[in-house]
Symmetry: C2
Subunit: 177 residues, 2 copies
DNA sequence: CTTCCTGTACCGTCTGGACGGTCTTGTCAA
DNA sequence: TTGACAAGACCGTCCAGACGGTACAGGAAG
């Protein structure tokens, strides 16, 4: 299953994300992705035999990346608790002006079931956090606030100023400590 | 501009929301909406000359309803502060198992610009909250956590149990006080 | 020879929307 | 009271375009 011509899949995935962001989530057509990736439609359909597989690939890549980032940040700050690591990592993600994952809307429009891996991933993460965080109240507040931050980033909604965002994050880290 | 056959517009709007929820946001076609509303396609296009107008109608109705609900809850608990009212109202909205506004994904897929009224509305609401809430830190945490709750409801993601949700809300109300 | 692609031609389906016709309702003059 | 008439509300049909997907002939590289 691994290892076609090394980077073709990655290029296509990146192209799909770009198209979704720039042309709008509803305009994620195979032709657009193919031309953006510098690949013919036949080539695209060789790597992803169907549009559903493409979406699935996007979701899996997203989850894989997040997991890696979390583990990396974890081993970096070995003394910090998991919740704090998660807060910092998410805040970093949301720093980028680019919504970074607006292809999610394409996936949902295509079929809401594409979100299922993400949902179960989040459930597992939350369970893990519950196991490692002593105070449930603090966890709930921090987790939900981060969820809110991610949501605002995803919807490209900039109601918070930079200062406010920083104040929020530092407050959450205080609570998580 | 007002007053067609009294309730035809409302019926169509409700039908559109139903179709989006049941058939998936990507399957919100005019035919589906028309048949669901018990109206011919011609009749639908008479009320909403274009699909964009339909989406616009959904957004406006959503905002109008929310505003009314907020004002109503406000006059009911005249002594409570705005943030607490907002928290309670949002928590109530998120109680429903039905995502209630999953047509939003349809609108985004159609054209992300449909979200602009919602964005400016939220910005205004946040400004209002800032004006009426003494402690910025509390406001940020509460507002973002509620945003997170709304996001989870919208994505139909049930990582929180009922008890956890209630604990969260009571904690937020404590902070907001 | 196999793998990985390119390029093109094509098909079936769906969708937004334009269009002309139809039924209903209100208005007003005689 | 009645009949004429116009505007409003809605129906059914049709169409051009876009899209996902298939099929197939080739070509370059290892």
């Amino acid at each position: 299953m691994r290892a076609q011509r090394p980077n073709s899949r990655e290029k296509i995935l990146a192209a799909a994300a770009d198209v979704a962001r720039e042309s709008g989530p509803g305009s994620l057509s195979l032709d657009a992705v193919a031309s953006r990736a510098g690949v013919s439609k036949g080539g695209l359909l060789y790597n992803f035999p169907t549009k559903a597989k493409l979406m699935q690939g996007l979701v899996e890549g997203y989850l894989r990346e997040f997991e890696h980032a979390l583990e990396a940040a974890r081993t970096n700050d070995k003394d910090e608790n998991l919740l704090a690591v998660y807060i910092r990592l998410s805040a970093n993600d949301c720093e980028e002006k680019q919504p970074s994952a607006s292809w999610i809307f394409s996936a949902i429009a295509e079929d809401p079931d594409f979100m299922m891996p993400i949902k179960t991933f989040k459930r597992q993460l939350f369970e893990r956090l519950k196991g490692e965080t002593p105070d449930l109240k603090s966890l709930l507040i921090c987790y939900l606030a981060i969820e809110g931050l991610r949501s605002m980033n995803l919807f490209d909604s900039d109601v918070l100023s930079k200062d406010e965002r920083e104040l929020l994050v530092s407050s959450l880290l205080e609570i998580a400590k």
